[in-house]
Amino acid sequence: MRLVRDLGRRKLRSTLTITGIMIGIMALVVFGSMANKIDALVKGGSEYYKDKVTVSAKGGTMGLGGVLSTRMVDQIETLDGVDVALASTMMMVSDDASAVSMGIPPMIVGSIAGSDKGRETFKLNYASGRALTPQDEGSNVVVLGSDLSKQLKAKVGGTVTLRGETFQVVGILEPTLTAPDNEAAVPLAAAQQLLIKTLPALIADKLNVNEIATGLVVYPKPGVDPQKVADEIKAAIAGVTPMTGKDFDKQIGAATSVLSAILIGIGLISLLVGGLSVINTMAMSVAERTREIGIKRAIGASRWRIRREIVIESAVIGLIGGLLGLTLGFLITALGNDAGRDSGTILFDLTFGTALSSVTFATILGAVAGFIPAWHASRLDPVAALRYE
């Protein structure tokens, strides 16, 4: 109580300092949430790609790029280390680049249900409806990811339009925090029909629509290093680029961890400024209270008591600033995600860990910043401090 009254006594300065910390923590929460989202995306991707080799046309990556032939599936399955291979056809839901501001753009992914022969380990849970089945081949049905379903305002039993074609929604996934959230899973044949329309007529005329794909997913035999399989594929088939989980981590993980570091760095710099402001506030408050400190020392307050008093006070400044910053950051990320839902871009993932560590960090920052003025205060000569005007 005393402490709150002490803070109240220096209302304006405390308010400014708390505002400084608040802005820093807000930045940390917002950028941290953004980094969380990116991390979750990357982690999900890393998890998905870890046990397989993804084959794209030369120059492409992650099953996207030029057109491949589904006949390669049989060719690859004859290779030594290969257990199962399947064809997939991917394309963006919309070619409109403005919709792709951040993260992964919404994708259409076509493959024959069950063609992984039970090898896929990445678990998907259904919020409503059902999974695709091999019997769906030939019909226009779709399973939507959580974010994409919200963007399209789709419900199971309703329909959505994808690249001009009408699809019946049969299932909606629970959030995975990674790629499937923004995907529309369709039967392979339907995806092939959509893909052929995107190709220039000259090329399309020469292709058999039932044999086109953009990527091949290859599951190595148990115990076989995916890298060995990738090397085999490269040697056996011309014009393709195989990618392993390690390649994914190298390409994507490195880029995004730099991005995350930059985002968190911005937050930390704003906090550093907040921390300096706490030092300033507490140093001035110590100077202002020199006489009071002299009185307390004279009547028997130990140096330790004086230090504790000041450190606790500045930790409370940090805590209040941290809580306010978290509240503000929470509002910004919630509003940002709401606004982004329509364009399919969920930018923020404010986790409990981020919230807790930001507030803890603000409190510790306050305490540490208070330590310098506290040390100074505790070293004052009581007699000189008593005389201080």
Partner: protein, 252 residues
């Protein structure tokens, strides 16, 4: 028995390399337990400096001339650590200053219990002791007032309550009546006298007021950093019964 004994007490303030002030030039002093002593002397004669040393706020200069000695109830306190001196100040001494020196943001009661807190008596016990001390100085109804809501005389009585609350062995007061009119000074002096009589608390006070000096058992006179006159214990006051209540730092 002497409760405070000092010998070879010196203090030189160093303003710059060339400019030093010898505030105490080798003082020898002995104060009996239960005595109420006034220290008088012209401005700048070293009274406050001596009080700071007796109150363990400053240490005597250690290294010119014969080594300083300072004993509190027989125990050598000349070269204690800051922590040890702080502990003695908290538990065994009470301070009263000329300009009251209350913490402005705290109420009268909180100012008093602060001293209990530093002496290791917290919570309810401290609060109770604080209220009792305020009652002793006649301010129980001002317990929740801030210093700014009290008159000078009342503030000084709160300061006395703060000095007394731990029942210290010694009360050191540097010009406690310096900022008060003669009626208020008389009140403050009467309070100190009362505690000295009733509880045998030793009181050392600095004053410029010869009436205050006369009300004490003995007047020590200083001039130019030295004690010129140790004074005589007045026969009448010496004969007054000093109830030797053992000084208890921590009430059970």
């Amino acid at each position: 028995m002497a409760i405070l004994e000092g010998r070879n007490l010196r203090k030189t303030y160093r303003l710059s390399r060339r400019n030093t002030v010898e505030a105490l030039k080798g003082v020898e002093i002995s104060i009996e337990k239960g005595e109420m002593v006034a220290i008088m002397g012209p401005s700048g004669s070293g009274k406050s400096t001596l009080m700071h040393i007796l109150g363990l706020l400053h240490a005597p200069d250690p290294n010119h001339g014969p080594a300083p000695e300072l004993r509190l109830a027989g125990e050598d306190v000349a070269a204690l650590s800051d922590n040890a001196r702080t502990k003695i100040r908290a538990r065994r001494m009470g301070f009263v200053f000329q300009d009251f020196n209350l913490v402005p943001t705290l109420t009268a009661l909180e100012n008093v219990t602060l001293a209990c807190d530093y002496a290791g008596i917290g919570g309810k016990l401290g609060r109770q002791a604080g209220l009792e001390a305020l009652a002793l100085v006649g301010l129980e109804d001002r317990a929740n007032h801030k210093p700014s809501e009290l008159s000078g005389g009342e503030q000084q009585r709160v300061a006395i309550a703060r000095a007394l609350v731990n029942k210290p062995e010694i009360i050191l007061a540097d010009e406690p009546t310096g900022n008060l009119d003669s009626d208020r000074s008389a009140e403050v002096l009467a309070l100190l006298r009362q505690f000295n009589r009733e509880h045998g608390q030793t009181v050392v006070l600095v004053t410029h007021d010869s009436e205050v000096g006369e009300a004490c058992d003995r007047v020590i006179r200083m001039r130019d950093g030295r004690i010129r006159d140790y004074g005589q214990r007045a026969a009448a006051t010496a004969a007054a019964p000093v109830i030797a209540v053992p000084a208890v730092a921590v009430p059970a």
